[in-house]
Amino acid sequence: MIELIVDDRCTRCNICVSVCPTNVLDLVADAKPRIARQEDCQTCFLCELYCQSDAIYVAPQIDQPVAVDETAIVGSGLLGHHRRNAGWDEWATDPNYRNEFWRMGELFARGLGFDPATRRS
């Protein structure tokens, strides 16, 4: 579930309030959004994807809140990984993050042990 919005990274654009499909966040005047309904978070990471300032941290645990240390999270370098790996915004032209979704077939084929060209094992 979402655990953290880093105050000094947040630009108050409030796009996370809009794009959160489950309405977890509340808009706050002149401040970062408030995590108002954490229990409704579906851990989909989409707020992170839309946050161009990489201010949001969603913990992968779905069942209960986890204690997070803001300094440690910022220091870990994990913030913004999802947006980068998805090749959004400034990463769009970086070849290391290009869209290779077309390799899904290869993933299945090599995992299940058949030749993707002939679809025979």
């Binding site: 499909p21 579906q42 989909c44 994990l78 790996n85 869209n99 390799r103 899904m104 995992g111």
Partner: protein, 526 residues
């Protein structure tokens, strides 16, 4: 009380996932005025936005398509309709490339443009942008609560709440209403399914619509335990172990979750992806960007280490059931009410086996396009009828029969999950277990009808829709006294040829189940 937002339009689309997006685009492209409302945000709501849907994708070659359909019919267990399969192959092939300019289709290793599979977040972002450019009026965070009916019983629009605008009420009158509210996974942690609480099923049933195939609702998908990450492709490389480190063998062979579920009922099951070659490990983030996130954040190496796994229920999402449609425009049995995507039954294209990300995606696109075009025509033909008087017909969770002690939606949801999510009930069905669950769900429904309402209307209505959906699924599963496709009964493990029919289910306070012959079977034989 703030004044309601009153709007009128040609086409109202409820739900902004893949099917709703395509419906809105098709209707607007046909010249209709369109409003799309979503409980969340059109672009992130629904199960496609968090996924990477592949589409059933076969070139327009008669032989190739006939073979693809034959292959799929072999797994449909007699419940599919060839004419619909042909149609979704054709519509998908022609329509997906029209997203170019909004979605950046990559080229594969051979230099061919790759259309068949799209990344979810980018797909839905593209649909939103295209819809907006076509003039679709989008209302985000505006869940629909109930339908409006004309005096003649046809649907006149809907009403709901703007949850990010002071809970202002909205009332939208339309010539036709398209339900694109998705399937229902009973609030399992399935990625992206939190909003999919069966709202559309309930609203439609209150107008008199029926459902079909609700017994085909037991698909499950693997995930790392404690996470929502139901992206399963990398598990093609999985090796499974029990707690003592014993290799469990190919327990996911054929995609049947029951062997893994049986083991999970006995104790933890661990997984390693060590068989994935290094070149794929290094490019996995380019293929499935979100897959590694939960591991990275928990300090787990899924390749060299081992991690516990679980299964998340898919309900009618990767299941098959949904609102019964009566014609090729995806109209329900209620006039001017249409159902598309996972809100509609996908038996016509998938039969008794999950349409996974292939048939289901092609169905979402095709049904959306078909309904969008049909309602645009309906608006031209019969107008918006905005001067006629209408009535709002929502009951359960909105207008309790008796007041007194208010029921708590959270408590009801807790009861519901206990009946619908445990593996031993969802995956190993028996008449006895189903009857017992139905008793519990019927009592919950009675409580909802008499005492739920007045507090958080959205949560109350969700609780009502979840329980209604659960009763339809459970009743249909009880009535199908055989095993067919994903519907597996431990007390009737064989397929019964005499039950090669649809099960139509409906009703609110009293649920009824009626067999119906597969419409196109006779035509197929001819």
């Amino acid at each position: 009380m703030e004044q309601a937002l009153m709007l009128e339009t040609d086409v109202l689309v409820i739900g902004g996932g893949m099917a709703g997006g395509w419906a809105a685009i098709a209707a607007a492209s046909a010249g209709a005025s369109v409003i799309l409302v979503d409980k969340g945000y059109f672009g992130t709501s629904g199960v496609t936005a968090t996924a990477g849907p592949g589409h059933w994708w076969v070139p327009p070659d008669a032989e190739l398509r006939a073979k693809a359909i034959r292959d799929r019919e072999a797994r449909a267990f007699g419940l599919s309709e060839r004419v619909w399969m042909e149609r979704i192959l054709d519509e998908t092939w022609r329509t997906l490339p029209t997203l170019a300019g909004y979605y950046e289709f990559p080229r594969d290793a051979t230099g061919e443009i790759f259309y068949r599979g799209l990344r979810g977040p980018e797909y839905l972002r593209a649909l939103r942008r295209l819809a907006r450019d076509r003039g679709v009026h989008i209302l985000d965070h505006s869940p629909a609560l109930e339908l409006l009916l004309h005096g003649d019983g046809s649907v006149a629009g809907a009403s709901g709440i703007r949850r990010q605008s002071g809970h202002q009420r909205w009332v939208i009158r339309a010539a036709g209403t398209i339900l694109a509210t998705g399937g229902c996974a009973f609030l399992s942690p399935l990625l992206g399914s939190r909003n999919n609480t069966g709202d559309g099923y309930l609203m439609a049933a209150e107008a008199g619509a029926t459902l079909s195939g609700m017994e085909f609702s037991s698909q499950h998908t693997i995930a790392a335990a404690g996470t929502s990450q139901t992206r399963s492709a990398p598990y093609a490389f999985a090796t499974f172990y029990d707690a003592s480190g014993q290799d469990l063998g190919p327990i996911m062979a054929g995609g049947d979750p029951r062997m893994l579920a049986r083991l999970l009922l006995k104790g933890p099951v661990y997984c390693s992806l060590r068989r994935m070659p290094s070149d794929l490990r290094a490019s996995l983030h380019r293929i499935q960007p979100a897959f590694l996130l939960p591991f990275e954040r928990q300090g787990i190496d899924p390749f060299e280490g081992r991690f516990p796994v679980t299964l998340h229920g898919e309900g009618t999402i990767r299941g098959v059931g949904g609102l019964r449609i009566v014609n090729d425009t995806c109209e329900t049995s209620v006039p001017s009410l249409f159902a598309v995507g996972d809100a509609a039954t996908r038996e016509a294209v998938a039969g008794a086996t999950s349409g996974g990300g292939n048939q289901n995606s092609a169905w979402a696109l095709t049904s959306g396009q078909a309904a969008g075009r049909a309602v645009a025509k309906l608006a031209q033909r019969s107008g918006r009828r905005a001067a006629e008087s209408v009535r709002a017909i929502g009951e359960a969770g909105l207008r309790p029969l008796r007041n007194g002690t208010a029921a708590d939606p959270r408590e009801i949801v807790g009861i519901l999950k206990e009946e619908m999510l445990p593996f031993e009930k969802a995956l190993f069905r028996t008449g006895e277990k189903l009857s017992r669950s139905l008793g519990v769900l019927d009592r919950a429904w009675h409580d909802i009808r008499h005492h739920l309402g007045g507090g958080d209307q959205i949560k109350s209505r969700e609780a009502a829709a979840l329980v209604a959906t659960a009763r339809w699924c459970t009743s249909a599963a009880l009535a199908r006294t055989e095993s067919r496709g994903m519907h597996q009964r431990d007390d009737a493990p064989l397929l019964d040829p005499a039950q090669t029919h649809r099960l139509i289910v409906g009703g609110l306070d009293t649920v009824h189940v009626t067999p119906e012959p597969v419409r196109a079977l006779a035509e197929q034989a001819a």
